[in-house]
């Protein structure tokens, strides 16, 4: 069992590395969207600081949606998913591994970029640390819940916009808690409660989402 999970892990990493050009696109989108805001609302440092956390989180959600489709698309189309299902490996665990690799390959670079964006949007150091913490806890939640919808739409030709329609409403609480945490940090209040809530949602998703993803993939196969 662990052998096959390890095999999936290594293979997905190798594939991600070979498609790194494709992985870069959501990242560039992320930076672009964020640099549009100062142009749109004016470069005043106060207003940027006020909208900064929300802008960064909305951009992170949108750009992660862009890359999300990659998660199962190729494996579904070339039949690898069928072979994985017929290998007897536990599908929920395989899904967790795939989501983990996807997070490492396409979200972690986004997080690494965030100091630059903090600079762009004039965030204070406290706000930046809070932003980093919410991104670290919140983005795995994004990937896990997103994977359910990706699993459901992977067999459809026109998945892109539908995926956004399905997922954006579901991400509302995450957006609220994450931006509130950064805002709390800007007022120098403790934000551990917000982080705790996001963490609780993450654990909850970790318990349920793998089963839902596996079922979604099975539905897409039939």
């Amino acid at each position: 069992m662990t052998a096959s999970l390890l095999a999936v892990f290594k293979r997905d990493l190798a594939l991600a590395f070979r498609q790194r050009a494709e992985l870069l696109q959501p990242m560039m989108f992320f930076v672009l969207v964020i640099s549009l805001f100062p142009l749109g609302v004016g470069p005043g440092p106060e207003i940027l600081q006020k909208i900064g956390p929300g802008v960064i989180w909305v951009a992170a959600i949108l750009s992660s949606l862009l890359g999300m489709e990659r998660l199962f698309r190729d494996d579904f189309q070339d039949g690898t998913l069928e072979q994985i299902m017929l290998s007897g490996a536990s599908m929920p665990l395989v899904c967790v591994v795939k989501v983990a690799v996807h997070w490492l390959a396409s979200i972690v670079p986004l997080i690494l970029l965030s100091p630059l964006l903090g600079l762009f949007l004039n965030l204070t150091l406290e706000m930046y640390w809070a932003l980093l913490a919410t991104l670290l806890v919140g983005t795995p939640l994004l990937s896990l819940v997103g994977a359910v919808a990706v699993g459901l739409t992977v067999g459809l030709q026109k998945g892109g916009v539908l995926l956004a329609l399905l997922l954006l409403p579901v991400f509302v609480p995450l957006l609220i808690f994450a931006t509130a945490a950064v805002e709390a940090a800007s007022l120098q209040i403790s934000y551990s409660a917000h982080l705790g809530l996001i963490g609780a949602m993450l654990l909850f998703a970790l318990a349920l989402a793998p089963m839902a993803i596996a079922y979604a993939l099975k539905v897409s196969q039939s």
Binding site: S4, A7, R11, R18, D74, G79, L86, G88, Q221, S222
Partner: protein, 209 residues
Amino acid sequence: MALLRGQNLGCVKQDRTLFEMVNFSIEPSQLLYVRGQNGAGKTSLLRILVGLSDPAAGHVEYKHQDIHTVSEQYFQDLVYFGHKLGLSLNLNAIENLQFWCQLNQVNCTETELFELLAELGLVGLEDVPVSQLSAGQQRRVALARLWLKTDAKLWILDEPFTALDVQGIALLRNKMIQHLSEGGAIIITSHQTLDVDYPTSELLLEYRI
């Protein structure tokens, strides 16, 4: 003893009944040829047999037990070759096969893989991304699974001869006969006449309107 048995299988796609009340059983050393027009539901039947999709009615038994209750053993004894090849286009043949072996707990060294690919007529193409191989060559890579999983008891092959050249077909045909003579069973669909020198039983799916 029946190896695989389908009982009262029915399949509904887009609210159209493809087939219903399909019964069959297959024993070791038996070759079952699933025939039928385009759209009669051959592929759907094979996907139901391997458990990728669920039948609208009936159930499939492996060694007299439902395939979902003995799925671990069933998958261990099964090789499925479907329409989709199951090869990642961005990986090369060796990587693809190594991944498949690890996934299925098949022990196979890299030298053995090189030898096998040579036997399949793919010398020199081992480390080329699969996307750059021709359709027939890609199929040969995928078919290597039949050589790799030596202890498989049941092969389920959906149109395995498509896109293969004469040598490829001969290679596969010999391998099939060898598998059958060693006590393995095969369920196959094919649009070419199944020119295999072996007693064949047939399952005819009729096209329904």
